[in-house]
């Protein structure tokens, strides 16, 4: 894709040389982790294509949309209500932040002991590596963990940052705050786009987002079959791509893929005979962070679910579609997002219940808790998660790591030993 897109990347201000080597590494990584798999679904070709054009055709689409006056809004957290963005005919993209490139640049303005996700989004901006970031007319931050909250202050020197306040508890006062924030965001998006959000366009946007959630729910149901019909890596990739692909097209393509998957399940075909079923739980894994799933799936296990923001935390709950007035719809949005069980909340008992329920429903033999180094909220909760799972008779392994590759062998030993233990 390189030659045809280079002029566009240059115009967007990317560092062409550094960007070229990033794409090269990404391509190699993708080849090793994805294309080497046997017996994949035909439907994954679409994902392969989207990924190979991650900085190419999708960027061109966004670029063209902007030329026609549409706005692009970038986000880092599943708390940002997408319905509002799409209702105003703007485009929302998740800024992925799953690669190590740019860390050096980031460490010039952030402490070294900051989680890899934060370093990555700051680093990508400073090192001029991400065309999505460059295209954004608005980047939405939120007051979730302290690391992100403070990083947005720094980040706002480099990008048009808008920060939403996310409550830390879920009492009625917190709901009131959250509602005020959703309304303030609505106003900001209206100001940005020059379009007003109406009952009509919001209803459509709610439908659009729910359809995307439903297809991912369908995927999750199908992948839980015995034997497992799709690798955890492929399922994770689908979830990751949902954050920046065109939602309408994505939903259609994934329904096609699910049809194929359904057929495969009917035929009783699996991808990993004899593999131990495990579930991942914890911090989000953004593109191209496939490190742990790859280690797990080369150690005699198969991942059948992700309790994570790039996973069920983002798709479990739908926005109620019963509202008829704008007010009712906004309320439905407020309520839906407040159900998110992120570790930044206190207390966060519902997450523990969700994990245990999910582990049971997926019939897994163990859970691997994934924490990014220096992520305090999830590290703290991992102890509680372990206890809740232990009480339910489900073993858990806690892994803490970052994006670097130096600990892969060590992690492999841990994961293999866990698989031996639960087999």
């Amino acid at each position: 894709m390189t030659a045809s897109h280079e002029a566009m990347w240059e115009r967007l201000g990317l560092d062409l040389e550094a960007h070229a080597s990033l794409l090269e590494v990404l391509g190699k990584f993708y080849g090793d982790i994805y294309l080497s798999q046997q017996g994949r679904l035909r439907g994954m070709e679409y994902l392969d294509f989207v990924l190979s054009e991650i900085h190419g055709l999708r960027i061109r689409e966004l670029d063209e949309a902007r030329a026609q006056g549409r706005k692009v809004v970038g986000t880092f957290c599943v708390f940002v209500p997408e319905e509002i963005v799409w209702a105003a005919d703007a485009i929302q993209v998740g800024l992925c932040a799953g690669a190590e490139a740019g860390t050096e640049a980031a460490e010039k303005i952030l402490p070294r002991n900051t989680c890899a996700l934060i370093k990555s989004f700051v680093g990508f901006k400073l090192a001029r590596l991400c065309p999505f970031t460059e295209l954004c007319d608005m980047v939405v931050g939120e007051t979730t963990c302290d690391g992100k909250k403070k990083a947005y202050e720094t980040f706002s020197d480099y990008a048009p940052v808008y920060v939403m306040e996310i409550p830390q508890m879920k009492r009625s006062e917190d709901r009131a705050l959250w509602k005020a924030e959703v309304l303030r965001f609505k106003q900001a998006v209206e100001d940005l786009t020059g379009r007003s959000i109406t009952a009509e366009n919001l209803r459509e946007a709610i439908g659009l987002m729910n359809r995307r959630r439903r297809v991912l729910q369908r995927l999750n149901r199908l992948r839980a079959a015995h034997p497992v019909p799709i690798s955890g890596r492929d399922a994770l990739l689908i979830n990751q791509v949902s954050f920046y692909d065109d939602p309408e097209r994505f939903t259609q393509k994934i329904h096609d893929l699910c049809d194929e998957l359904e057929e495969k399940v009917r035929r009783g075909k699996g991808v990993a005979d004899g593999a131990v079923r495990v579930m991942l739980s914890g911090c989000p894994m953004a593109v191209p962070n496939w490190k742990l799933p790859y280690i797990v799936e080369s150690s005699g296990a198969v991942v059948v679910g992700e309790e994570s923001c790039i996973g069920t935390r983002n798709t479990r709950d739908l926005v109620d579609e019963g509202g008829t007035t704008l007010e009712e719809m906004l309320d439905a949005i407020v309520d839906r997002y407040l159900k998110i069980d992120c570790a930044c909340f206190t207390p966060n008992q519902e997450r523990l219940e969700h994990i245990v329920d999910m582990a049971r429903a997926l019939d897994v033999q163990g859970v691997i808790h994934y924490g990014l180094s220096f992520c305090q909220p999830y590290a703290m909760e991992s102890f509680k998660v372990e206890k809740a799972l232990r009480d339910a008779g489900i073993p858990m392994l806690a892994i803490e790591t970052d994006y670097s590759m130096e600990d892969v062998e060590q992690l492999k030993t841990r994961v293999e030993a866990f698989v031996e233990m639960i087999r």
Binding site: Q410, T413, R414, A417, E420, M421
Partner: protein, 252 residues
Amino acid sequence: MAVIGIDIGSRSIERVVWDQATGAWTWDKVPTTFDPLTQCRKLLADADGCPVVATGYGRALVAEHFAELSVRTITEIQAYARGVHHLVPEARTVVDIGGQDTKVIALSPQGAVVKFEMNDRCAAGTGKFLEFMATSLQIPLDSFGDFALEADKQVAINSMCTVFAESEATSLMARGERPQNIAMALHRAIVRRTLAMLRRVGGESPVVFAGGVAHNRCVCRLLSEALGGDVIVPPDPDVLGALGAALAGAGP
């Protein structure tokens, strides 16, 4: 028929040959060197036909390079659990301090792994830590533990990080502290680290101490003092991984 277990560690490679008919076994040990593959070749030269089970950080290397043999791999955790359970069936916890890893494993009464802890990527609290410190105090590694046992006073080294602990040791030396006392403080640091891992897995007794560092009398003594005397150190504590691997090849 015989079964071979081979444990490729960072410092040494151990091989156990287990006779399935009689249950008798013998072991060998060679240094890992910079060319572990050649070392493995020597140990596997007469392996023809026997099942081989490889463990240790070089396990994949063996599986990859000896395709002509039937090689299976298991982790050190599984291997030590099996080896220990065979020699000390009542053991409920295994502490294995090797060249670059420290592991603490909780066993069920039947000898199955129920929980384990491993050190993070850094060398703090592993054999490497002692090796590094012995070198910096210019004491041969083999007698480092005995040297530390000559301490006559308790001094503190607080850091568990190899680099920081060394600078603490250097500044104690600069203040004229006896090297024996410094050595003791370094041994205490490694034991503190191990105890923290023990607590995380529950640390039920009896505790078996295995791995290369179990040859170090000072670590043995400190560990058993901390645990109220309840530490079993089997003879040849560093071959239990290879033994466990061989047993895995023989048994289910």
